[in-house]
Symmetry: C2
């Protein structure tokens, strides 16, 4: 059974906050966000496949990935402003179909008791309108579906089972 | 005589907008923003000297520079999310003394008649409080002083004099 995605988008502020727990240790959850092969296996809605073009998971690195459904392609790109192992990622994020509308994405990885993880995210948009447009285009459903796929991926990783996890 | 810096920081919104005209062509103004040797000669208040640590002026590149006054050092770093020659730069910006408080900085370079340039900037802060703290710590004066130094630098560059410029 999956943990819920908790997402809030305060009225009148160009931001979005979310949190999601995982029944897996921080090191695994962080790795799935920063290892391009793992990342491509869970990010986004289930009916899209992801191709990684560039992925330099380090402070000052860049990334670009393309999601495909049949002949449709959706490309996303940005820079890693900061990356601290098992702790924190701050990146820019742009959907190339919506050029120069760039989001700043803060992700914090916190260890919970029992080998579990809390992921906390904060996204800052250039305007309330652009945030609402992303939300209106299925972003929450896409994130939720992606995190459920991430659960499945994490369950399949060959890792030591921490306490409190089946 | 220098052109004024026009800066506005709307109440309750975590942003800042500014514009500044230059009596020099776009190619020169853009070059002074993206050539590390030139950039170090004008950025920031007059009583600071600037050392460039990293400067990769391209989409996906990183930068870091350190400003010194006596033994005091102030370091700034970020990533170039997008850079289009003579047109547009979008970069992240962090003062290392205020860690993880990261600004998104949009800069647009527009050609004006007579070989002149309009620089338009928009900075997005993580909060109104952080923006106001930067403003309260002399940011506007530092920018204004830097642009006056940029005028002097541009006047000294060996370039073809465009129409309408002495």
């Amino acid at each position: 059974m999956s943990n819920p995605l908790n997402l809030s988008a305060p009225a009148g502020e160009p931001s979005m906050d979310y949190s999601r727990e995982f029944d897996f240790p921080v090191s695994d959850v962080f790795r799935a966000h920063t290892d391009p092969e793992l990342f491509a296996r869970w990010i986004g809605p289930q009916d899209l496949t992801t191709r990684i073009d560039v992925f330099e998971p380090r402070t000052g690195g860049a990334y670009r990935f393309v999601q495909c459904r049949g002949e449709d392609e959706y490309a996303f790109r940005g820079a890693f402003h900061a990356l601290r192992q098992d702790d924190f990622v701050l990146q820019t994020f742009e959907f190339e179909g919506y050029p120069d509308v760039v989001t700043l994405e803060y992700s914090t990885f916190t260890e919970l008791p029992g080998g579990r993880t809390l992921l906390t995210g904060r996204s800052l948009y250039p305007s309330v309108e652009s945030r609402d447009e992303f939300l209106g285009n299925g972003m929450e459903e896409g994130m939720s579906s992606g995190y459920n796929q991430l659960d499945d991926l994490l369950a399949s990783l060959p890792t030591e089972a921490p306490e409190g996890r089946e």
